[in-house]
């Protein structure tokens, strides 16, 4: 990520810093090759079986899995077809859009056309945000038969109890936040960096979580995330997804900064 880019597009600084900073371990599998973003593997631990276990440094560049069955790992809560389209088509489109935005910016900069470079900011925000958000999302999911579902324990559980009253209250509030999104967007459990407290935020479209907040757990509320299986019954998707939340990942993110 060039520093000139960051100077040219200040609005994106937060998001891009998040993807580059080593301390943001959750972002570490957002891989860049010669300044290009690539689609991360869905499976970070195992080639043949989709596990979703967080192992940020292990992300490879092999692209979408050729093991078609892997995408079924979150069934019956999220269908294999949804997972495959979501990863190989939607996420890939954000990666492509991000790379194309970065290229346009680099080219404009090389010609000294900073107005043109800055005009790409909305595309960079949208596609860069889409890449970051989906990368975080895959990592905070896991098959129900493995690390998915249940309730958090340890320090994370304590923090949830103290900031929301109970895990149940937290889950209800998150579902209310998800249901209240008007249009496309995401809901996040976040940690306030300075206060250290937990909170819920929603973001429109692909706006990434930034500023004082560290994203711990993200849930995609775009229609493409559930429509093939749940159609208009999005409340059912919001209920089902708790069976495949990877609390190990969320706890690791909570413990990082």
């Amino acid at each position: 990520m060039s520093s000139t880019l960051l100077r040219t597009v200040p609005a994106l600084r937060g998001a891009l810093r998040a993807s580059g900073a080593p301390k943001a371990a959750a972002m570490a599998s957002t891989t860049f090759v010669r300044g290009k973003a690539t689609l991360p593997d869905l499976s970070c631990e195992c080639i043949d079986n989709l596990t979703y276990t967080q192992r940020p440094q292990a992300a490879t560049l092999r692209g979408a899995s050729s093991q078609g069955d892997d995408y079924g790992a979150l069934e019956p809560h999220i269908s294999g077809k949804i997972m495959e389209l979501h990863h190989t088509k939607h996420h890939q489109t954000y990666v492509n859009g991000l790379n194309s935005a970065l290229e346009t910016i680099a080219e404009a900069e090389s010609k000294g056309d900073f107005t043109k470079a800055a005009s790409v900011a909305p595309l960079l925000n949208f596609h860069g945000g889409g890449h970051i958000n989906h990368t975080l999302f895959w990592e905070n999911l896991a098959p129900a038969s493995r690390d998915g579902g249940g309730e958090p324990d340890g320090a994370l559980k304590k923090a949830i109890d103290s900031d929301f009253g109970s895990f149940d209250t937290f889950r209800k509030q998150m579902n209310t936040a998800l249901a209240g999104i008007q249009g496309s967007g995401w809901a996040w459990l976040v940690k306030d960096k300075s206060a250290g407290t937990l909170g819920l935020v929603t973001r429109a479209n692909q706006d990434p979580v930034s500023g004082p907040f560290v994203p711990l757990l993200g849930i995609d509320a775009w229609e493409h995330a559930y429509y093939l299986q749940y159609e208009n019954r999005k409340a059912e998707y919001f209920d089902a997804i708790w069976n495949v939340i990877n609390w190990k990942t969320v706890a690791a993110r909570y413990g990082k900064d």
């Binding site: 008007q182 249009g183 496309s184 479209n205 775009w222 229609e223 493409h224 159609e231 208009n232």
Partner: protein, 244 residues
């Protein structure tokens, strides 16, 4: 019957609401509360096939549009109650809900009417002589207009709508605008054609291939409706039933 512009005026809370006499028990009927109803489609659910599947049309109309109507009515009812109770904070809190669901109702009502089964008279651009002449003047031809409109539709980030409008009122120049989520066309612009770019509008059939949806929708555009709107002769009304 109330027309779309006056509903929008209401939604924007520019029109004063009825308020009850103090001390009287809350009587929504007396306060002039009307409820909106889901309009029937002017064609069968499978009528737009193969361009838009019957399954999409049925869910889109009977579930999605119905939800906007139901939630609009609920919010309006709460709003009337909040006005009666003098609860300003509650009134403010309801504005966004009214805008979202009212917009969803307006937008879908316009959308159904500017679609028609492929191959019918209505879907021939000949049915919109005046509009097409103006499109020619503005974009140098129908094909170039379609290309420009399609590009605007595909450029929408997230959920939203693309519209061909007459800017500022009837007789205004033609313009392509997009609105996010369920924001309706505002500022006195007259909607001529609307295309729903929410994923629910195409996903079951086109999956992530929204460019194909946009390409195919031109086969089911109702140019007759577009011409009527362009000429200021349309009868875009929202159906409502009074509680009285």
């Amino acid at each position: 019957m109330v027309n779309i512009a006056s509903l929008w005026q209401y939604l924007a809370l520019q029109a004063p609401l009825h308020s009850s006499m103090s001390g009287e028990p809350l009587n929504l009927t007396k306060m002039g509360l009307t409820t909106y109803t889901l309009p029937a489609l002017p064609y069968a659910y499978n009528a737009l096939e193969p361009h838009i599947s019957a399954q999409i049309m049925e869910l889109h109309h009977s579930k999605h549009h119905q939800a906007y109507v139901t939630n609009l009515n609920k919010a309006l009812e709460s709003h009337v109650a909040a006005v009666a109770a003098g609860d300003v904070a509650a009134q403010i809190a309801l504005q966004q809900t009214i805008k979202f669901n009212g917009g969803g109702h307006i937008n879908h009502s316009l959308f159904w009417k500017n679609l028609a089964p492929a191959g019918t008279e209505e879907t021939r651009a000949d049915a919109a002589k005046g509009l097409v002449a103006e499109i020619d003047r503005t974009w140098g031809g129908l094909e170039n207009f379609k290309k420009t409109f399609s590009a605007a539709l595909l450029g929408i980030q997230g959920s939203g709508w693309g519209w061909l409008v007459q800017e500022g009122g009837h007789g205004g120049s033609l313009r392509i605008v997009t609105t996010k989520d369920q924001d309706p066309v505002v500022g006195g612009d007259v909607p001529i054609l609307g295309v729903d770019m929410w994923e629910h509008a195409y996903y079951l059939q086109y999956l992530n291939g929204k460019a194909a949806y946009v390409e195919n929708i031109w086969n089911v555009i109702n140019w007759k409706t577009a011409e009527e709107r362009f000429q200021g002769k349309s009868e875009d009304k929202l159906e409502e039933k009074s509680e009285l």
